[in-house]
């Protein structure tokens, strides 16, 4: 017996440490199967999209690496093991989980993360692990690839600015909006969306005469509504999500606001359109842009939706943006794996070269990578219209193919001289 409690506690700690050491020794395994790590957000506000993300990965594996007789996915003669990890949308946790996947689980390829700030942190982490391949999930920050990219980070989905492709030009040229005020949430994703809208809108000659940034989750918009000009603007560009959008539309309408709206990619989705409120009629004619459109009528999209619904009866009514992004990323990985016949040797050099050249037709159109390994892909321009049943729906105006990260302006455009922020770009 120990007379002192300190000694006794130390023995307990010692025993615990031994246990830890023995568990550690069991790590590692045989090399033959290819290990893919999937990282999405399974806690916090993005938990539901996170689950949909994993559906995207699994659907791609089912389709492009069908299960063999052992019940495992297989491509080019090698089995694939998928290891899932969940973060909480903060960069610190995303990196901890990525380290676990890379260093403890020894995954060869990591697919993820889901949100923008996580993506920026993942790029920096990727630079320190040059012999593993990092493929984006659905994170859409511009500078994950645009400025100072990591050579082993690939993104087969588009960024938040690309998601607005076609919108600024259409607003100026077809809708005839010349002066616009904007209301947007104050963080990276809306900055990028606003940037994407303003690249085209400012370049076409439009003016954004006022910017209102509100904290995420704002309930009371009275200050913003009274600050918005009542004359001299043709429309209000709104980049708010979910309940923020509903609150703003309701309060703007109640205050007698009459302006037309232009919507960000998540501003006028089903969660907003399905609500009932006096603002509904005001939403008719709102234009918006997004990389997916539920009602698109291409055969590839319809096939993709059909398989999604069959595979995941408990999934969402339509595969969302997140499922589609992770699906496309995984298809890119599998296409390149097939190309190199499952060869990941030599620090994955051969595989990464093949991945950079990968081209395929996704459910929403052709996808290829630019010099910074960011997707050049399609985007949908839609308008909110009232259907025969009196319900609001987003109707596709057109699909724009081959959208690059500069929205066709070129890398040297003054609008792309700085990272997007509260104050940049500007065309007052």
């Amino acid at each position: 017996m120990f007379r002192s409690t300190t000694g006794r506690r130390l023995v307990i700690l010692l025993a615990a440490s031994m246990l830890v050491a023995s568990t550690a020794a069991c790590g590692g395994g045989e090399k033959t199967p290819i290990k893919i790590g999937g990282l999405a957000t399974l806690e916090g506000p993005f938990a539901v999209p996170g689950q949909d993300s994993f559906r995207g990965i699994e659907q791609a594996l089912d389709t492009y690496a069908p299960k063999n007789s052992n019940g495992n996915w297989e491509i080019a003669g090698r089995e694939i093991i998928l290891i899932k990890e969940g973060s909480d949308a903060t960069p610190a946790v995303a990196i901890e989980k990525a380290k676990k996947l890379i260093e403890q689980d020894n995954v060869d390829i990591l697919i993820g993360p889901l949100s923008g700030d996580e993506g920026l942190a993942m790029k920096d982490y990727a630079k320190t692990v040059t012999d593993k391949t990092f493929v984006n999930g659905s994170s859409a920050a511009q500078d994950t690839t645009f400025r100072d990219p990591a050579p082993n980070f690939f993104r087969f989905s588009t960024d938040g600015a690309q998601w607005q492709a076609g919108l600024g030009k259409y607003a100026f040229e077809t809708k005839g909006y010349k002066n616009v005020a904007l209301v947007a949430e104050d963080y990276s994703f809306p900055y990028t969306q606003v940037g994407g809208f303003m690249y085209e809108f400012c370049a076409a000659g439009g003016h954004v005469i006022q910017k209102n940034w509100v904290p995420l989750g704002t309930k009371d918009y009275s200050a913003v509504v009274s600050n918005l000009p009542t004359s001299g603007i043709d429309a209000i560009y709104v980049a708010l999500g979910g309940s923020d959008a509903i609150n703003f539309f309701t309060q703007y309408n109640a205050a007698g606001g009459k302006a037309k709206f232009i919507g960000g990619s998540i501003t006028v989705d089903q969660s907003v359109l399905a609500t009932t409120g006096a603002f509904q009629d005001q939403l008719v004619g709102t234009i918006t842009a997004s990389p997916t459109a539920d009602t698109a009528d291409e055969a590839a999209w319809k096939d993709y939706v059909k398989v999604y619904k069959e595979t995941f009866p408990d999934g969402l009514p339509y595969p969302g943006l997140f499922a589609l992004s992770y699906y496309n990323e995984t298809v890119g990985v599998l296409t390149a794996l097939k190309e190199v016949n499952g060869d990941l040797s030599g620090g994955q050099k051969k595989f990464m070269d093949a991945l950079a050249k990968t081209k395929f037709d996704g459910p929403t159109g052709p996808i290829s990578l630019d010099a910074n390994r960011n997707a050049i892909a399609s985007n949908y321009l839609s308008e909110i219209q009232k259907g025969a049943d009196g319900k609001l729906a987003a109707v596709v105006i057109k699909r724009i193919d081959n959208v690059d990260q500069t929205l066709g302006l070129g890398k040297d455009s003054p609008y792309l001289a700085q990272p997007v922020s509260r104050d940049f770009p500007a065309c007052p």
Partner: protein, 385 residues
Amino acid sequence: MSRLRASSASWLRSREGLATLGFVVLLVVYPLAMPRFWVLSIASNAMILGIAALSLVFMAGYGGMVSLAQAALAGFAAYMLALATLEPSTTATGSAIGFALPALPSALIALVLATLAGAVFGAISSRSYGIYFLMLTLALAVGFFYIVLQNYDIFGGHIGFAGILGPTGQPRENPAAFYYMCVAAAALTYLGLRYVVRSQLGLTFQGVRDNPRRMKALGYRVGLHRVVLFALGGFVAGVSGVLGAWYRGNISPGIVDLTRTIDVLIIAVLGGLGYPMGAFVGAVFFVLVDVFASSIKIFGFSFDERFNTLIGLGFVVVVLVAPTGLVGLADRLWQTAGRRRRRPLPRAIDPLAAEAGIAPAPIPALAGSPEVPGRPEGDLPTPGP
């Protein structure tokens, strides 16, 4: 300490001495024998979280102040470190302020400022007790989170800062050095706090904890002592924040959000709020569960998308089975086993604690303080419930 040093030869031959020696050897050998992931993501990370929890255990155990601001104070130190050590930014991202100082002077500045911040937090909240103190510190923590989230000019907004290098360089490239730095910091803060609680100041803290009114009558400045205690807590939390910033290499508001605030409390409760060493035991347990919950399969059912359920269940079990934390549970088991084999040990008195003044005392913040508002004036002396 001095008693230990005087009889160090005989102490080293005792079982306690042997156990300590074995533990120190294990700590030293660990990074040489283990893969990097276990050195950094498990051991160093646990040490960093443990120091933050230690600051809470110290404040709760010796001051009766269950503070929810410890993660914020750690984050404050991390931000101050970043501002001291990084170059000022000229673009829209990053901070307009930056002093480009070397790592160690930056850390010193960060620790001094974290101590001051602790004193300021203490000055604001130390007049309240119990649940009110808890809520005030929570409000301060959440307030700090929103400041760093929304302020771009100084705190870099939601992106925060990257490229913070510690004196050992990239932890990834030299895991053992970083690990030894964490071990040294953990040992120094632990021993330092043990020294403080044995000192006259430490005994005064406990007097203030147990009966502020009587201490006031004896001529002690109760409010000042609580502020000083909070400042010390701020310093220890700051050590954790500085190490954490060097460990991650970057900081963003995510490190001071509500989840991280509550993580510190969970770790302290898991280990045992009355036991300083519990902070580290709790941290090791927390990190292991957090890292491996998604890999665990029970009856073939994988928890990879439901790992939080498993973590939550694990914590519920610990709190039910061991209300005094893991260290408390181990102590109890040990004593039960000892009683069966030999003789009953005095249950309530922890020998080392009795000599050192480290008693796992009831925590007024949770048990109800003698100065909870609403009590009638003039009911001195206050008998314990």
